[in-house]
């Protein structure tokens, strides 16, 4: 990047100078009064309803029956990656050095999420849950295992819970990939996973 170093610096200094000159007097950052967002609702039921509303499948199951449930949902998949010890259905093993392009034909990925958000049915998946970052996007179908007790009320609470994490990559996933770009007709399965099932244990 040697060739553009000088220009880059010019841009930086002139932008910061211009901001300094043009910004208004300091306005205080507001405190967030989270009591305003408190609601006496059933976290689990709300999570399930919201996830269904965004096109996801959700079911409360016993931890021991994870693989049985997945086999019912996805009966004839061959290329399966499981990044969690909770499922033994994986047929392909991956590690940190797996070249992401080789995951092109993965039929099913099974991974664990650390957190669920009741208000929008989203689950928080990190790079360490996926091992290879592209996995939950490139797989044809996605199954996510989530502990029921890890569902929180809303996004502000979710950020409290992930505040201390190691920050490399993380994503909130709410339902399967979708688009309404053709005449506003909702079609599930755009570029990411065609289906999402969240198994609550």
């Amino acid at each position: 990047m040697i060739g553009i170093k000088k220009d880059r610096k010019m841009g930086r200094e002139s932008i910061l100078k211009s901001v300094k000159q043009n910004k208004p007097e300091l306005l205080q950052l507001p405190d967030i009064n989270e009591a305003t967002f408190e609601e006496d609702i059933n976290l689990l039921e709300t999570f399930k309803n919201n996830l269904k509303a965004v096109g996801g499948f959700v079911k409360e199951i016993d931890e021991k029956s994870i693989d049985t449930e997945i086999k019912v949902l996805h009966s004839n998949k061959t290329n399966i990656v499981s990044t969690t010890k909770k499922s033994a259905l994986g047929t392909i093993t991956i590690d940190k050095n797996t070249e992401p392009h080789t995951l092109e034909n993965i039929d099913l990925a099974i991974l664990e999420a650390e957190l669920g958000v009741s208000e929008n049915g989203a689950v928080w998946v990190t790079a360490s849950n996926s091992i290879v970052r592209v996995l939950p996007f490139i797989t044809n179908d996605l199954v996510i295992i989530l502990k029921k007790e890890n569902i929180c009320l809303h996004m502000l609470k979710a950020y409290d819970q992930i505040a201390e994490r190691y920050r490399d990559f993380g994503v909130f996933i709410s339902g399967p990939s979708k688009t309404a770009d053709i005449e506003q007709c909702l079609v599930v399965g755009a570029h990411g996973a065609m289906s999402l099932a969240v198994l609550l244990i």
Partner: protein, 455 residues
């Protein structure tokens, strides 16, 4: 060409306009339902607005903090004063990687900088990967909406485009089939791309990370497969703390489409091992807008598009009639700051009904700013003779009650008795495409006096 002229063009196809109008209003209704589901929604909007106001008042410090934190995580940070610098920086990064194939996820900033034609002229293939953006790219048109880029296209239009460019079979516009074909077509592009470019929804000062929101998963498919990721952002995308994402992610998708959150909200803090991540921070007129006290709140915008969906003018004139990267009410207060002369008709493309301000998740006083831009424009731009003389006459008439009464009587007499060609002509914009009201026997003044007399 003025907004009104271009809008007239769009209005030639009445059925399409009606569909466009209804489709966007439906999205507005979904936004309402979704917002009403949130405990403390109005407080959430207030927070969004106040956080953004704080950001603008301390922007230089936040930018410095953001840069330092991003660098600590191994992200390369670049600064661009204008579109040209931005495009050159991106091009230099691509050259360094010897990149010939680029996939891009939605970024209004790169539209604003005209990055695609710049790179294409240098022999680089740039593929827009959001389905709506890909559709308009194939049609060689700009997006007509910031969230729904191809809302002006019918499914039959898309069918034809795909037949021509992707070799699909005619399907009479079957959305499932067309999306499936686009998925295959773009998957191939993702798998063969050298570098991925994305926009930025939020850049977090206290972590140095950026958040990108999509429903399709196209940003992630691009970034996690390519060897380098370039994220392009305007300086106003900064938020102070990661926790503030909890405010903005609750507001964004609900305001945009009525979803409780986008399908994917991806947090990029560090490049994957062996890969590179670059962030380009762009001014391109934003610091100038920051200097305008009356208009700086326009920089609060989080690009949800709610103001477009609700706007009676936007819905019936289409995004292309604005002839600016960001159309609709928000575009009409941003664009005059970039080029007053070129965009001088946009602040007038409004009824000033205030619906845009009412739905804005960060409470930008859009309609008030539209009104203020009108005042600036009338002072600085030559106005058409007809408008000028009519307004001058109206000023005199309205200031003299006697004259007003005579004028009122004359107008009523004329409306009742004058031949049609005298009433419906070029000078009377109100008579265009609609009938003027039927004249009743008496005016308000007479009616009121009579009523008082009768007790």
């Amino acid at each position: 060409m003025s907004h009104a002229t271009k809008a007239a063009e769009f209005n030639k196809n009445e059925a399409k306009v009606n569909w466009h109008d209804k489709a966007l209003w439906y999205v507005r209704e979904k936004r309402d339902k979704s917002a009403h589901n949130v405990q403390g929604w109005e407080y959430l909007r207030q927070l969004g607005s106040k956080i953004k106001a704080n950001v603008l008042s301390n922007l230089d410090e936040y930018l410095i903090q953001f840069e330092a934190n991003a660098k600590k995580n191994g992200i390369h940070v670049h600064w661009a004063s204008d579109a040209e610098e931005h495009n050159n920086i991106v091009n230099d990064i691509l050259s360094k990687h010897n990149a010939k194939k680029v996939v891009k996820s939605k970024s209004m900033l790169t539209e604003e900088c005209h990055l695609n034609p710049f790179l294409e002229s240098r022999g680089i293939e740039v593929v827009d990967t959001d389905l709506g953006e890909r559709i308009v790219q194939l049609a060689q048109e700009p997006p007509s909406h910031i969230v729904l880029p191809a809302i002006h296209k019918t499914k039959e239009d898309v069918d034809e485009l795909f037949q021509e460019h992707l070799g699909t079979t005619p399907s009479q516009g079957n959305p499932e089939y067309l999306v499936g074909e686009a998925r295959k077509h773009l998957r191939d592009k993702f798998l063969n791309a050298d570098v991925a470019i994305t926009g930025v929804n939020f850049a977090v000062a206290d972590t140095g990370g950026v958040v990108v929101c999509t429903n399709e998963g196209n940003a992630d498919m691009g970034v996690h497969l390519a060897k380098a990721h370039i994220a392009c952002m305007g300086i106003e995308k900064i938020i102070p703390k990661e926790k503030h994402l909890g405010v903005f992610l609750r507001l964004l998708a609900r305001s945009a489409t009525g979803q409780p959150i986008t399908t994917y909200s991806s947090h990029f803090n560090k490049p994957e091992d062996g890969k590179e991540m670059h962030i380009v921070i762009v001014d391109n007129g934003r610091t100038e807008q920051l200097s305008r006290e009356d208009f700086r709140a326009s920089l609060h915008c989080i690009r949800c598009g709610a103001c477009m969906n609700t706007c009676p003018i936007y819905r019936r004139s289409g995004g292309h009639s604005y002839d600016y990267t960001i159309p609709g009410p928000i575009g009409s207060i941003l664009s005059p700051g970039k080029d007053l002369k070129k965009h001088s008709s946009l602040p007038f493309a409004s009824t000033l009904c205030g619906s845009c301000s009412n739905v804005c998740p960060v409470k930008i006083n859009i309609h008030e700013q539209l009104y203020k831009w009108r005042q600036v424009i009338v002072k600085e731009q030559k106005q058409p003779m007809v408008k000028k003389s009519i307004l001058k006459t109206a000023g005199v008439v309205l200031s003299k009650p006697g004259l007003y009464r005579i004028a009122g009587k004359t107008a009523r007499f004329m409306l009742k008795n004058a031949p049609k060609f005298m009433i419906y002509n070029k000078l009377n914009a109100w008579g265009k495409a609609r009938d003027l009201p039927e004249v009743k026997g008496q005016n308000f003044d007479d009616w009121y006096k009579k009523r008082q007399k009768n007790g």
